[in-house]
Amino acid sequence: MEILLAIGVPVLLMFGIPVVLSVAGVLIENRHERILAEREAAVAGFPVISTTAELDGAQVELLSSSVVMGIGYLKNLFIGLRSVFGGEIASVTRVMDRGRRETYVRIVEEAERRGGTALVNVRFETSDVGGQQPAAEILCYATMIRQHGESNTLGHADTARRPR
């Protein structure tokens, strides 16, 4: 009985904790993606381009938004395992995608709050900033245009796409 307990408890902890954490991680991830989809839908009409637009009579302002995404120890461990054979690490792709969508939505929301009519010259940047943590910063910055009077026209039909 004592031997069973001595082996059973560590084994349970060893497998139980990662399972609980990954289930929690997936739930949080799904929730975040659901919220992101709603926020994206809310800002979908806003013109955003990654090139420069020449506009007359406009005010300009530099906006930036960033988010530090923790990859999570389990997924980080998985990167090591996956590297043995190589290939895409889809679970981490998903984390970075969430981070990038988050920065994108935040910058558009910020532009709307400030009364902007368009975002031009959008740039994304990613860097490893975690130190000991498996984490990456995703930065999005752009020039916000505020036009007076008539509604904005950038002359682009294909605007306001979220990054992919």
């Binding site: 954490l21 990954s22 929690a24 991680g25 949080i28 991830e29 975040h32 420069t52 637009a53 020449e54 506009l55 007359d56 009579g57 406009a58 005010q59 300009v60 302002e61 530099l62 930036s64 960033s66 988010v67 530090v68 995404m69 923790g70 990859i71 999570g72 120890y73 389990l74 997924k75 984390v95 981070g99 988050e102 031009v120 010259n121 740039r123 940047e125 860097s127 490893d128 900033v129 975690g130 130190g131 000991q132 943590q133 498996p134 984490a135 910063e137 930065l139 910055y141 752009a142 020039t143 245009i145």
Partner: protein, 106 residues
Amino acid sequence: MIVNTESIPGHDIVETRGLVSGNTIRAKHLGRDIGAGLKNLVGGELTGYTELLNESRAEAVQRMVSDAMVMNANAIVNVRFTTSAIAGGAAELYAYGTAVVATPSA
């Protein structure tokens, strides 16, 4: 005026003053590191670090602006940001751009 485009809508760039930049290196206190460590058990946004980097970036931009003011410029164009991890837990934020004198176009 600070933009990351090469020109400013509605303005003419009459003079280029030169490259301006600002940087800062910051580390968060241990408490935040522990908080981030716990959050990373499941992954997701590490809010403490996001805040830190946003504050630091504002600081770097501020330094770049002071640099431009010394040059008597009234705008900075083509601004770029970079971030990089320096030794354990500290990050460098760097902002650079071209200081110019811009006037509203006639």
